[in-house]
């Protein structure tokens, strides 16, 4: 997303304009992603209704087929179907699932709590792990420890979550009986999958944090603080942690948005019934109303998280509240946000 013209820094009015511009942009993103997915689903061959009607064993008459297509609104041209969908959407109605035949809003509402719990616990674990590793990697007095902590993220990223997940299940649930995945919902049930899911989330976060913590440690104001005789711990907490957190916040924001929709495999492994399992069922059955509902949810989340992250920046780093000219200057020294996307930052950090 390109930076909006209005800036946060120049007074309450332009702040409002900034927020409004970002919200406007968000709505455009939402609308476009909805439209693109709608058309893609339309272009894909097959849907569960036509699959049922064209079942060679069923032998429905053409009249029966036509009436059923009318019932599902599938007899209309694509633009009319889009229009009807949008008109319904304006009333908060996402339509009915083509497989479970229940309102899509109900379906998402039923699955969302389990996913939000998992995302929240995962984020917490990931933050703790990343903070611990970063502290080790940058401040541990013994170099092998610093090296080890720096190398851990790469290791975490290279083991797929299902490998760790299935091992955790086999050992701790099936063999030792420490927890059950039978009804793995609720906060307590979220702990084992979150512990697994937190590893790949923490990995890129840790890399970025380590990279920026090291950079911040070289900043003149840190040297100044150190020369004042500040202890290592206070130095880290008071002067290094906050500005180093900036790119981390971006990455975490993206990770949270992804957690809501991207935990398909971990949900399957741990038998949790959240958005991930709804996605899997909807994708394999081409249940387009459900898919569109989830796209809308995911796009809204990404837009919201991005907005929140951008608004958080000036709060975290006072330098970004300064005059436009100066802030540009400062952002050279301490990048205002992770350049473009999280993954690029990770690559840079590796290099």
């Amino acid at each position: 997303m390109s930076a909006p013209t209005a800036r946060w820094s120049s007074g309450p009015r332009s702040r409002l304009r900034y927020v409004l511009a970002r919200v406007g942009q968000g709505l455009v993103v939402l609308g476009l992603s909805y439209l693109v997915v709608f058309l893609l689903l339309f272009l894909l061959p097959g849907d569960p209704i036509r699959a049922r009607l064209s079942d060679p064993e069923a032998n429905f008459t053409q009249e029966q087929v036509d009436q059923l297509l009318t019932y599902y609104g599938m007899d209309k041209p694509v633009w009319e179907q889009l229009w009807r969908t949008l008109a319904r959407l304006a009333h908060g109605d996402l339509g009915y699932s083509l497989t479970t035949v229940e309102p899509v809003t109900d379906r998402i509402a039923e699955a969302l709590p389990a996913t939000l719990e998992l995302a929240a616990v995962t984020t917490l674990f990931a933050l703790l792990l990343a903070a611990a590793l970063t502290a080790l990697a940058t401040t541990a007095p013994w170099q092998p420890v610093r090296r080890f902590a720096t190398a851990v993220p790469a290791a975490l990223l290279s083991v797929p979550t299902f490998v760790i997940g299935l091992l955790v299940l086999q050992i701790f649930s099936y063999q030792l009986g420490l927890f059950s995945t039978l009804r793995a919902d609720g906060w307590a049930g979220a702990v084992p999958p979150a512990a697994v899911l937190a590893l790949p989330v923490a990995a890129p976060l840790t890399r970025v944090l380590i990279e920026h913590a090291r950079r911040t440690q070289g900043e003149p104001y840190v040297t100044f603080a150190r020369s004042k005789g500040l202890g290592q711990g206070r130095l880290l907490l008071a002067h290094v942690a906050r500005p180093s957190a900036l790119p981390g916040v971006t990455m975490l924001g993206l990770a949270v948005a992804e957690l809501v929709t991207g935990s398909v495999i971990v949900e399957a492994v741990f038998n949790r019934h959240g958005i991930g399992s709804v996605i899997e069922a909807a994708v394999s059955n081409q249940d387009s109303p459900t898919l569109l509902g989830i796209i809308l949810l995911a796009a809204t989340l990404v837009v919201l998280v991005n907005l929140v992250v951008d608004l958080l920046y000036p709060v975290l780093d006072p330098r970004l509240r300064a005059e436009p000219g100066r802030s540009a200057e400062v952002s050279d020294a301490a990048p205002r946000r992770a350049p473009a996307t999280g993954t690029r930052t990770v690559e840079e950090a590796v290099a």
């Binding site: 894909l44 061959p45 097959g46 849907d47 569960p48 036509r50 699959a51 049922r52 009607l53 064209s54 079942d55 060679p56 064993e57 069923a58 032998n59 429905f60 009249e63 029966q64 009436q67 059923l68 009318t70 019932y71 599902y72 009915y96 497989t99 479970t100 035949v101 229940e102 379906r107 039923e110 699955a111 797929p160 299902f162 490998v163 299935l166 091992l167 299940l169 086999q170 649930s173 099936y174 063999q175 009986g177 059950s180 995945t181 039978l182 009804r183 398909v264 495999i265 399957a268 492994v269 038998n271 019934h273 399992s277 899997e280 069922a281 994708v283 394999s284 059955n285 081409q286």
Partner: protein, 540 residues
């Protein structure tokens, strides 16, 4: 979905390792399966279902995951005994028909009530039959096809009888009434629009269990219905069901289901990995390979897909090039069986087709040579006039070892010089792609209470690509003959025609796996292989 595929492979491998480790650690732990004891009342059973539940309207009950639940909620007019193939009384105590099978008179039990308290009456049975016959397409209800294609109307007769009128002779109707597609629901459910009837909480039946609670599409709890007293005569006991409750929980990952069973967290699972079957059995778990009535699992060949496959020699080469014994021994185990006829062994009408359609690579190679496919390209695939003898095969979406089967078949056909490109598709796309006229192969394993419901795809002009009206007459004859020797002969003729024309490659008996815990007894697979738990009980 490549990550997912890798995940499934890894999960499978891990489950095997874990199983063998735990089997070694706990060998000799489980009680011998010999002493079973007397059935006892009580017990709460956890049933692991492999797919998320969808709609519980009558038209959607044939989906496996839904039927795991629905066979315990609903009753049928007639019971087709899976052991004998004979019709037995259920909601209907007696039945008769006229000589040409166009009028049927059913006598109903008079003590049956639905779970909302309403009685089973001739009127509500007629309303159910009308829904099967006509559907209500404007409201989303599809009619039952092909079973009720000849239905004309039904009428109540007196206080406890129903007369069904057909447009033409159909000797398969009564067997069709024992198909769970024709579960009988209360008038209250029939009155609902489809979107509401789809919700299991609105499904009012007369079966041995009733719905207690539902969580999204992933958990359904049934409890014993008090006062139930009308099981089919073939059941092991009378009166209420033994179990207090059954909780169905969706557990989509096969290795999880095995793990949950082994660690004692669940009592029953549908669908386990073939590689887990033996280890579970060794640990005292009961394996049930349910063989539903209907057709075997087969690979159909569309003769009109293109000019290469239109040559019967090419189709016959495919038929003789596939080695079912190798498939069974490499991918399955002795819980599974090679097909002997196009109809399942227990289904009335089954007749073996003999040895002449089996694996014979020499014959296959000779046929392909005769057909002019004598060249070879760099991959070893046969060519003729610059064209390759290569086809696309889409693995079946709803089969336990679909991909492994398809991969091995591709290897086997490659050995005789036929190239096979495997393309995996999701369920909806699979149907869309395989019903196209230019598609060559389609898999099927159709369950059916009566043989007359099979082979609709081979009628000339239907989706199977066949244009020969000879087969229409052969298939139509089955519907005019009552179950018995003459009908089985008619089946044999259809079978011979399909195999001689090499439109079908018979594979294995259709089978659905269930595993129950060592202490869960009395599990029954009903006619179509679904999990009937009326007789099930938990030992202490």
């Amino acid at each position: 979905m490549t990550v997912f595929t890798r995940f499934r492979r890894f999960a499978g491998a891990l489950a095997v390792v874990a199983l063998s480790v735990s089997a070694a650690a706990c060998s000799g732990g489980a009680a011998g399966p010999g002493e079973v004891g007397e059935p006892r009342r009580g017990g709460d059973v956890i049933f692991l279902e492999s797919g998320p539940f969808t709609s519980f309207a009558q038209q959607d009950l044939r989906l496996w995951q839904n039927s795991s639940v629905s066979v315990n909620l609903f009753d049928l007019l007639l019971f087709l005994d899976p052991a004998t193939g004979k019709l037995e009384p259920w909601l209907a105590t007696a039945w008769e028909h006229n000589a040409d099978h166009t009028e049927f008179l059913l006598t109903l039990r008079e003590d049956v009530t639905f779970s909302d308290g309403s009685p089973l009456t001739p009127a509500v049975v007629v309303a159910n039959l009308d829904r099967f016959g006509f559907g209500d397409t404007g409201r989303g209800y599809t009619p039952s096809r092909p079973q009720f294609v000849n239905y004309e109307r039904a009428e109540p007769v007196g206080a406890n009888q129903v007369r069904i009128h057909l447009k033409q002779t159909d000797t398969g109707l009564l067997n069709g009434l024992s198909d769970l597609r024709h579960s009988i629901v209360a008038q209250r459910t029939l009155d609902l629009p489809y979107e509401q009837a789809a919700d299991i909480r609105n499904a009012v039946g007369s079966g041995p269990f009733v719905v207690d609670s539902v969580r999204a599409d992933t958990e359904i709890r049934l409890v014993r219905r008090t006062g139930y007293n009308w099981p089919p005569a073939a059941a092991d006991h009378t009166g209420e069901a033994y179990l207090d409750s059954i909780t169905y929980i969706v557990s989509g990952e096969a290795s999880s289901r095995t793990g949950l069973l082994l660690s004692g967290q669940a009592h029953l699972a549908r669908d386990v990995q073939i590689t887990d079957e033996k280890q579970l059995q060794d640990r005292g778990f009961h394996y049930y390979g349910a063989r539903p009535f209907g057709a075997i699992r087969e690979l159909s060949i569309n003769p009109t897909a293109d000019d290469r496959i239109a040559d019967v020699r090419v189709r016959k080469a495919i038929q003789h090039g596939i080695d079912i014994d190798e498939i069974i021994s490499a991918i399955y185990n002795d819980n599974w069986a090679k097909a002997e006829g196009l109809v399942q062994r227990t289904t009335p009408g089954h007749i073996p087709f003999g040895d002449e359609y089996g694996f014979d690579p020499e014959l296959a190679n000779r046929l392909l040579d005769e057909a002019g496919w004598t060249g070879r390209d760099a991959d070893g695939v046969r060519t003729r006039d610059g064209r390759r003898l290569s086809f696309t095969l889409y693995p079946e979406p709803n089969w336990v070892a679909a991909v492994q089967d398809a991969e091995l078949i591709a290897i086997q056909l490659q050995r005789i010089g036929i190239g096979i490109e495997l393309v995996k598709l999701d369920r909806a796309t699979y149907t869309a792609v395989t019903t196209k006229p230019e598609n060559v192969f389609v898999w099927s394993h159709q369950t059916a209470a009566d043989v007359s419901q099979l082979w609709a795809r081979y009628r000339s002009g239907a989706v199977g690509g066949n244009t020969d009206p000879a087969i229409d007459a052969l298939i139509a004859r089955i519907n005019t003959l009552p179950v018995g020797e003459r009908r089985t002969k008619a089946v044999a003729e259809v079978q011979r025609w399909l195999l001689d024309n090499a439109l079908v490659v018979p594979l294995q008996e259709t089978q659905q796996s269930f595993v129950t815990a060592p202490n869960l007894h009395g599990f029954r697979a009903e006619t179509l292989g679904r999990s009937a738990l009326y007789d099930a009980w938990l030992a202490g």
